[in-house]
Each structure stands twice: as C-alpha cells, then as structure tokens.
Symmetry: C2
Subunit: 345 residues, 2 copies
DNA sequence: TTGTAAGCGTTATCAA
DNA sequence: TTGATAACGCTTACAA
C-alpha cells in the first residue's frame, strides 16, 4: 500500500531491540529524566546501534511544530546586503535547534504563492520577513495564518508585527547633513524602488535635511532607482547628461552608489574632486571599491540575530512575539568618496 | 489530548462543506482528472472558500517525501562566492516546486550533527553539497541515509555521487600561465585551507604550470591561506617581509587576492607595476576593487542550477542521480591587477 | 516507572 | 466515479 523507506529503523525497531515499548523509546529521547537509569541506557544504546533518528514528518504531525523558520528574502538569490543578516539569523536559530528555510521573492506570483502555501501548510513554526511587506497572494496573507512573524529592516504592513530595524530617516538625515556640512548645495537623490519602506523613510529624511539647510527645491533632484547596480548606472548616465550637475549624490543603497561611481568615473568625472557620493547599508563592496564609499553602516548581523532571537523566544513560550519596535544604531562611515565641492561650483 | 491549530481548516472541513468524502477532496487536489467535472468544481470551490492548504507534515508522513532539498554551505552565513550559486539552485528548485533548506557548516560538531540529523529524519528529499565532503558525525555520514546527493564545485569523498564543477586544475594552470606569459619568474602561491578539494586541485595545476615553464622550485613559495580576507592580509604581510619578493601572486580565491592587494598597497607597493595578482572565482568584488582583479570566472549560477536540475530530475524519477562528472568552463578574465614584472626584477 | 492505545491529517487501497 | 478505512511513525493521556 505504501512505499517504505528501505532500511531506516523506526521507533518500533528500537523498542524491539531494547525490549521495551515504543513509548519508552520516545521518552528516552524526549524526557530522559523520567526513566530508570538502566532502561534509559538500554534504549539509548539500541538507538545508537541501529542509528535511529525519529521521522520528522511523523513527529511534526504529532506535536504540531516543525522547528523550521521561514526566512523571506526579496529577489535575486541573496543580495549582498542580506548575507550578513542571514548569518545573524542562522546563528541564533541554530543555537536553539531551529532550521532555516529560504523563501526568495522575485515579484512573481508563483514565488509568492509558494511562500504563502508553505505557511498555511503549517510547515514551519515562524517567519522572518525582510521584504518590508507581508507576502500575500489571492487575498491570502501569511499574517492570517496565525504564525508568529518578525520583520527585519522595516515596519511591516500588518498590525502587531514586531520589527527590528535602524532609524532609516535619521540615517538619511546623516547622509545629507554630511554633504551639506562639506558645503554641497546642489544634490541628487538616487531613490530605491517606488513605495519600498526603506526608500520612503530615507527620502523623508533627505527632504527634512535639505529643508532644514534651507536648500531650494530646484537645487535638488530625485532619480528613480531600483536598489540595483543597474539603477546606479542609469543615475550616472543621467548625471552626465545634465547641464548643471549636482556636486553631491545621496544614494539609497550602496549598490547604486557603486554603479553610479563606476559610470561617471569612466566618463572622466573625478570622485570626490568633482562630485561626492554617499551610500547606504555598509556592504563589503563599499570598502573595496575605488574610491572607497562613504556610507551608513547598518548592523547587519545584529539585525538578523536580534530578530531571530525575538522569534525563537516567542516560539519557546508557544506564543507570538510581543509587538515592539527595536531600533538599532546605524552609523555614518566617512571614507574617500566625499569631499567639499569643487571651487567653481 | 492534543493542541490543535486554532482555526485552519482540515481536509474533513472541506469534505463536509462540499458534501463529499475526504478521499474525494484529496483527489480533487492531487488527481483532478479522475473526478466528475461538477464534483471537482464543488470541491475546489470549498477549498477556496475555506482557504484550505493540506497539512505538510501529514502529507509528508503519508507519501514519504517532503519536496524539500537541503543545501549544505560551508561557514559564515553565505560567503560571496555562494550567493550566485544559491541563486541558481533556488531558480531550478522552485521551478519544480522544491523548497530550499539551508544547512550551514562552521566546523563545529553541533552544526554537522544538525545537518546529519535532518537527513536521517527524512525531513528532505535530496541534498546539494557545496562543502567538498559529505557531512559526517559520530561515524554517521549523510551518504548512508540513501538520500539522493549531488556535489557542487567538488568531487566528493563518497562513491557514486555526481558532481558539477569547473576544472580547477586547468584553471589554475591558466592562472599561472598568464603570469608566466607576462614574464614573471618568481611566484607566490596563496593556498586555500589544507586538504580542501579545490585547493588541492588548484595547487596541482599551479605546480604543473611552473614545472612546464621550467621554473626553479626556489623561485616559488607557497603561503598557507584560508579562503578568507584575513588569509590574504597575512600573505601580504609575509610578502612585505621578504628579502627577495616574488613579482607574481597566484591566489586560490578572490577574497584572499583582495586582502593581499589591500595590504601591500597600503605599504606603498604598486599593483601591477611592482607585483601582479591573480585571483580565482570571479566574485563581484573582483570587478570593483582597486585595481580590478584578474581572475578565473566560474559560472556560479550555472554550477548551482545544473546541480539542482540533476537532483530534481532524479527525484522526479524517484531515484538517485546517475553518477557523473559535469565539468563547466571556467574562464580567465584579464583585468588591471596583472602586467609584466618590473624591469629590475 | 512502564505499557497500551488513541490520534495527529493525509493519501491510497479496496469495494461499491 | 466515489466512499469507507487502514496506514504512515510518532507522542502522550491514561491505566497499570
């Protein structure tokens, strides 16, 4: 009636080998203190001899949990920013015996459906979301599955979901203030994808900073970007085509900043002599490109680790994590891509 | 007797709502062609109305598969080299409805045990290994679990496991030949971790190339590295301390090459005027560092995608993938870090 | 302290 | 074409 796994031992094989009931085997593995010492020894010996590991599906079905956590990542495998976030997540999760399932999103409905189905299939105990919004398809949102959720790097569009993030707005102010403090008066803002949580917050900070500095709106332009290298290249081309070029470029992330720098440098523009560039995120690349990039360093490992810890603690209590907003510090790192504007400007 | 998931519908709720048996609901979802049109419609309607998704644990237990694939990654979250490999894996896996579980290794027994347990718990249908050897703990190897296995980037230390890789040895020859062709006669080899599969193959290629070029062994030195940035820094320090410095540096991967370049450049050494550096891998960083790095480009996405495809095809046939060795082409990319040696040398 | 047996939610066999 | 039901392998309430 059913295909059986060839030769892997089941709990009753162990029970037989140890001369006990299956219940005792189960207890030896889950609540060893409640067994007599010699029975326990006998059972554990049989377990070792047979190489027994409990079947996960059967156990999950019975106990209703899987010790699996879904990590939702936006787009293209794992973008540079997320590698350290994942490392932080992985560290905390495995410390508590949880395993990480990757759910990548690329904007396609298929991917979104897979993620949502995974959650509703009760295949996992909790979800970490780094995409800024709750995956939803056909009106089904993973927030409706009553699975504990924690958001990383963004407040999320569902009520009561705790978030771990940096203060995007304040950091964006720091970006702009840095350039303004150096004397820049004509700025360009290279934006992230429209409506993206971080983009919105950072642009707000940018606008606040230029308002406070009393810059005229005509001295400031906004270029629609996409967080990708390509978006930075496009911004660079636009810059090259401008009659009155800005002297300071505020980028919404590092990848675009680097794309911008590569593009204008190829056209003979000197950084920072002719134009200054500030990035956001603090990815490794930012310290290796030429010139090295002034940027906002996000505590990427800690963002992931803190969120994972929050989730794991809640799961341990068999509840949802308390709604809260944990703000970690971002930091302006001044490197070689920024300087005072050229005299002529 | 048992905690039940609060409000998620089960198959019998759907059956009741549609006025059919649970068997019919199951069939409507798995073999829809075997139902009368109107019954099918009625069932699927109920499924939609109730928002029913089959419980994964129950299904896995019943059918004996989970549609999950474990990806074993060595160390530190996801090192730069692997991001694209993962992207390729993810693309192929999700095309066939498989989900990716991450198993990171950091050399600790705990991590290894988790990976091995996952496999023996039958929690997954297949495994992709990028670490060059089969995870093993306490004498239990995942190769013994009769779970289909495919190795990426390395032939693996278990018989009959298919591998998808580039020809490390030939690529290493290309690295060395490039420098030799430029006129370099004193070379330094910055190695990967001792015994690592790729390291061994690449060093073999290096030795073959210098032998063929007739270089004296005294003109060549080997520095023990670790694939990490730090290893490159150490190699750079050693270089700076040498009386008779080599003019060409062959690195076993890009991260070390970049670490080396940063270190010696800080000490005033000019690249490539004073010393040439070749990397291996073709990570993004290699095209953004200063100077840009001559390196071997590995088809990272394809390595992952091909391996995943191999595995998924085998799983579809409910068998193990055919033992084979698929070699993809690596390519020497000449950039700015290499030039003829200085005249004085 | 240990054993018996019910039940987790599916799917597949068999009978109708 | 559909329904009743056993079985997947485990944990746990209850009885001994």
């Amino acid at each position: 009636m059913q295909r059986r796994t060839e030769h892997l031992p089941r709990i009753r094989d162990v029970a037989k080998a140890a001369g006990v009931s299956t219940a005792t085997v189960s207890r030896a593995l889950t609540v060893p203190d409640k067994l007599r010492h010699d029975t326990k020894a006998r059972v554990l010996d049989a377990v070792r001899r047979l190489g027994y590991t409990p079947n996960a599906a059967a156990r999950n079905l019975r106990v209703g949990t899987s010790k699996m956590v879904l990590v939702v990542i936006p787009g293209r495998g794992a973008p540079p920013f997320f590698s350290e976030v994942l490392h932080g997540i992985d560290t905390e999760l495995s410390a508590d015996g949880y395993t990480m399932i990757m759910g990548t999103l690329d904007g396609s409905p298929e991917k979104a459906r897979r993620v949502v189905d995974l959650v509703f299939a009760r295949h996992l105990d909790g979800v970490l979301v780094t995409s800024g919004h709750v995956p939803t398809i056909d009106g089904r949102s993973i927030a409706d599955a009553s699975v504990p959720l924690v958001s990383i790097c963004a407040e999320i569009d569902a009520p009561g979901v705790p978030a771990v993030l940096v203060d995007d707005e304040a950091c964006a102010v720091a970006q702009a203030d840095h350039l303004i403090g150096l004397g820049h008066r004509r700025l360009m803002y290279v934006a992230g994808p429209k409506g993206n949580y971080n983009e919105v917050a950072r642009y707000r900070g940018f606008l606040a900073a230029i308002a406070r500095a009393g810059l005229a709106r005509k001295d400031v332009c906004r270029h629609q970007g996409d967080y990708l290298f390509a978006g930075g290249v496009a911004a660079g081309r636009r810059f090259l085509a401008m009659r009155e070029q800005p002297t300071g470029i505020v980028c919404c992330n590092d990848e675009m900043a680097i794309g911008f720098m590569k593009t204008v440098a190829q056209a003979g523009v000197r950084i920072p002599a002719d134009v200054s560039v500030v990035g956001f995120d603090g990815i490794e690349l930012a310290d290796f490109c030429e010139p090295t990039l002034t940027t906002i360093r996000q505590p990427r490992f800690d963002l992931g680790a803190t969120a994972a810890r929050l989730l794991v603690d809640a799961l341990g209590r068999r509840g949802a994590p308390a709604p809260q907003r944990i703000v970690l510090a971002g930091e302006l790192i001044v490197r070689d891509s920024t300087a005072p504007p050229p005299k002529s400007a």
